[in-house]
């Protein structure tokens, strides 16, 4: 037992000390921060471009519509003080004036120009030309502003008090959206989906990543001939168990760092966003209960043990990395198939097929967490699936241990299935 511990400790410390672990562990939260901050930042950025108000309004309406538009356009976003400049022109001068301001736009002194004429007064048409003509928020803002100015002008002409018109027409609607799903409506719906997707994806990634780590570790020990030195002191089963334990703890450490930094980022997002010049915005924070977290952890641990054992057995079978990739294909297919079903299960967690797939031990570690975080799954179902998973773990670990103990001292050709069966039967 002390030796198993020594093996696990070595695996853990050597891997945690490695450059790659540090990079991956730091990079994870940075990526997550970007996933939270960048959309918010982009949302702010895409509101209107900074110089949306640095335009000339060519007013050929012979009225003060241009002034009204300029006034309500106001200044641009984010400290831009430039105001739209109004140039009164007659319809006959319009062509001449347009070519003059076009040159100014080309010279980058202006962002663009807006042409208002009689059609604008009747509320049917206005023209805009400029560098930001394809920036949708800018165009929407100008369109809305002209519409409102026309409306205000008409109301005033109909005899309403100017002040009152201003007051009544100031509407700034913010459409809030909410989704209705199978589970009914509720704000936490988005959060659940995020948890389901995030958790299953992270579990998948960690299992693949650290399963491969074990695979490479076993091959490495074989090729370096360290395996022989170690099994002269330790039973191969202890070496295998220590390896899985040590690498598993590395994965859990990484997971813990990621979760902790995610919590911190969500908690302290306001100062971070302020630094980037973006206003704070609510992030759907899912509330993951204690029992849900424990379930998630249990599925991760069992899933990891299952796949780690399989990858270790593969590593013991082969003598080089090329062979390893080939030999690992069946295992890789199992885990990738589970990942492929994340989305279907997420969209339809109650269908019979998706249910059955989430019960299979090889996909349960990834798909059961998806289902449990989206819909309420009866506890006995979770327990049964977990029992099935435990049985699969025991069988796979037993098989892997036998293959491992014969395989780590075998070099050369990969065993055929018949030879493999003999290994399992006559291990030692």
């Amino acid at each position: 037992m002390a030796k198993l511990w020594a093996v696990a400790k070595r695996e853990y410390l050597e891997r945690v000390r490695s450059k790659w672990f540090v990079i991956a562990t730091v990079l994870g939260p940075v990526l997550m921060a970007m996933m939270i901050v960048v959309p918010l930042w982009l949302a702010v950025r895409s509101a209107t471009s900074a110089k949306a108000s640095n335009i000339v309004i060519l007013d050929a309406t012979q009225s003060n519509l241009g002034d009204a538009v300029a006034r309500s356009l106001g200044s641009g976003a984010q400290g831009d003080t430039s105001l739209a400049r109004v140039q009164q022109v007659t319809p006959s001068e319009l062509a001449q004036a347009e070519s003059t301001v076009t040159r100014e736009v080309i010279a980058k002194r202006l962002e663009g120009y807006l042409v208002l004429d009689s059609a604008s007064v009747s509320g049917s048409k206005a023209r805009y030309a400029g560098r930001n003509a394809s920036t949708i928020p800018d165009m929407e803002k100008i369109e809305r502003t002209v519409e409102r100015a026309v409306l205000v002008t008409r109301l005033r002409e109909a005899g309403l008090d100017a002040e009152r018109v201003q007051e009544l027409s100031r509407v700034n609607l913010n459409l809030q959206t909410e989704r209705i799903s199978d589970r009914g409506r509720g704000g936490s719906g988005a959060g659940s989906i995020a948890v389901a997707f995030g958790a299953s994806f992270v579990l998948y990634m960690l299992i693949v990543l650290y399963g491969q780590t074990i695979l490479r570790g076993v091959i490495d020990e074989k090729n370096n001939r360290v395996a022989e030195v170690v099994v002269a002191s330790v039973k191969p089963e202890s070496l295998l168990a220590g390896k899985v334990l040590g690498v598993g703890c590395v994965a859990l450490t990484q997971l813990a760092v990621w979760i902790a930094s995610m919590v911190l980022i969500v908690k302290y997002r306001a100062p971070i966003l302020a630094r980037l010049g973006a206003p704070n915005a609510p992030v759907p924070v899912p509330d993951v209960g204690f029992s849900a977290a424990v379930t998630l952890l249990a599925f991760f641990v069992l899933g990891f043990v299952l796949y780690a054992a399989l990858f270790a057995a593969i590593g013991a079978m082969v003598s080089n990395e090329q062979d390893a990739q080939q030999a690992a294909t069946p295992v890789t297919i199992l885990i990738v198939m589970s990942a492929v079903f994340i989305q279907p299960v997420m969209l339809n967690p109650t269908s019979t097929m998706n249910k059955v797939i989430s019960w299979i031990p090889f996909s349960a570690p990834i798909l059961m967490p998806v289902r449990t975080s989206i819909i309420p799954v009866p506890w006995y179902e979770i327990v049964l699936v977990m029992l099935g998973l435990i049985v699969a773990c025991v069988v796979c670990v037993w098989l892997a241990a036998r293959i491992y103990r014969v395989g780590i001292l075998m070099y050369g050709k990969r065993p055929s299935l018949v030879e493999l069966a003999r290994w399992i039967k006559y291990a030692r």
Binding site: E221, R225, V226, V230, V231, A232, S233
Partner: protein, 321 residues
């Protein structure tokens, strides 16, 4: 009688295609330097792996220090230097040694205390460089071998098993290894090593066991093996220009069974019933200056070739296969 360090009884190990070790029995007394000799593929490494419980024999029993070798913790008292050196390449030397010591039941603090002197002794730590702080793959092959050797002895084992320890060693390191083996013996440790280098075995071993094709050819103390083999060997050297005459003389199969031309001298195995004095008379009769005529004890090398060759394992090597 003191209990045996190693007691192997009728051990058989079969692999899929062949029998690697058949009915092998050997006894190594405590405090002995024991040589396991044999050509490549004779089953030396398989035997050693079975002693270390890395693989299990199909039949027979193995006892180490009087107890079955499957007993837990028993192998903590055995040190092992495998034929193919095996170290974690990316690990720092000190950490690696600490880990390997821990696998033998030595705590990290005690391991640290022992690692320093060992590094200094094998010049891996000098005034201006401590290789113990480097990663294994930054070390030269020779230095890696030293590390492996430290790993084998760090837990101060009572039985030390060295598989082909001299392969790939330069003369200086080979000498250092020999010195260490002698020192271990002086401290009452038991050393078993396998080799196909008869000279080193002859110099160092108290007892030997020669195996070929997985079977024991002979075993016993070196002195006993030699006297049992009898003095059937004569070394003859004459001045250079006269060697052709001697060669012609040695072609007589009634006198001479085989000749090993050593360039500087001939090592002659006499035919059954031949009298060495008669051979001497004939050489004298040649009238050439004789530099050497010596009745010699057969070397282990010669015995090895005789016996293993006689079994036809390496037919052709000795010339009478």
């Amino acid at each position: 009688m003191a209990e045996l360090a190693l007691n192997i009884q009728s051990v058989v190990k079969r692999f899929a295609q062949h029998v690697a070790v058949r009915e092998l029995s050997l006894q190594v007394p405590q405090g002995a330097v024991y040589g396991l000799l044999g050509p490549n593929g004779a089953g030396k490494t398989t035997t050693i792996r079975m002693i270390l419980n890395i693989i299990m024999p199909d039949e027979g029993s193995i006892r180490v220090l009087g107890r079955p070798n499957t007993e837990s913790k028993l192998l903590d008292r055995v040190g092992y230097l495998p034929e193919e050196r095996g170290l974690y390449k990316k690990m720092q030397v000190r950490r690696l040694l600490r880990f390997l010591a821990e696998l033998k039941g030595i705590g990290p603090r005690e391991a640290d205390r022992r690692i320093g002197p060992w590094l200094e002794r094998l010049t891996l730590k000098t005034a201006d460089k401590d290789w113990g702080l480097s990663k294994v793959d930054e070390l030269s092959r020779g230095m890696q071998q030293k590390v492996q050797f430290i790993a084998c002895l760090l837990h101060d084992p009572d039985v030390v098993i060295l598989d082909e320890p001299f392969s790939g060693l330069d003369p200086i390191n080979a000498q250092a290894l020999k010195d260490t083996v002698i020192e271990l013996k002086r401290r009452g440790k038991t050393i078993l090593f396998s080799t196909h280098l008869m000279e080193s075995a002859e110099r160092m071993c108290d007892s030997v066991c020669i195996i070929a094709r997985g079977e024991k050819v002979l075993d016993g103390s070196v002195a006993a093996v030699k006297s049992e083999h009898g003095i059937r060997h004569v070394a003859i050297a004459v001045s250079n220009h006269a060697t052709d005459g001697v060669r012609a003389l040695l072609d007589d199969t009634r006198m001479v069974k085989s000749v090993d031309d050593q360039n500087r001298f001939f090592e002659v195995e006499l035919a059954d019933g031949a009298n060495p004095q008669e051979l001497l008379r004939r050489v004298v009769a040649l009238g050439v200056p004789i530099e050497r005529f010596e009745l010699i004890q057969p070397s282990l090398h010669q015995i090895f070739l005789d016996r293993v060759g006689a079994k036809g394992v390496e037919a052709g090597v000795t010339g009478h296969g």
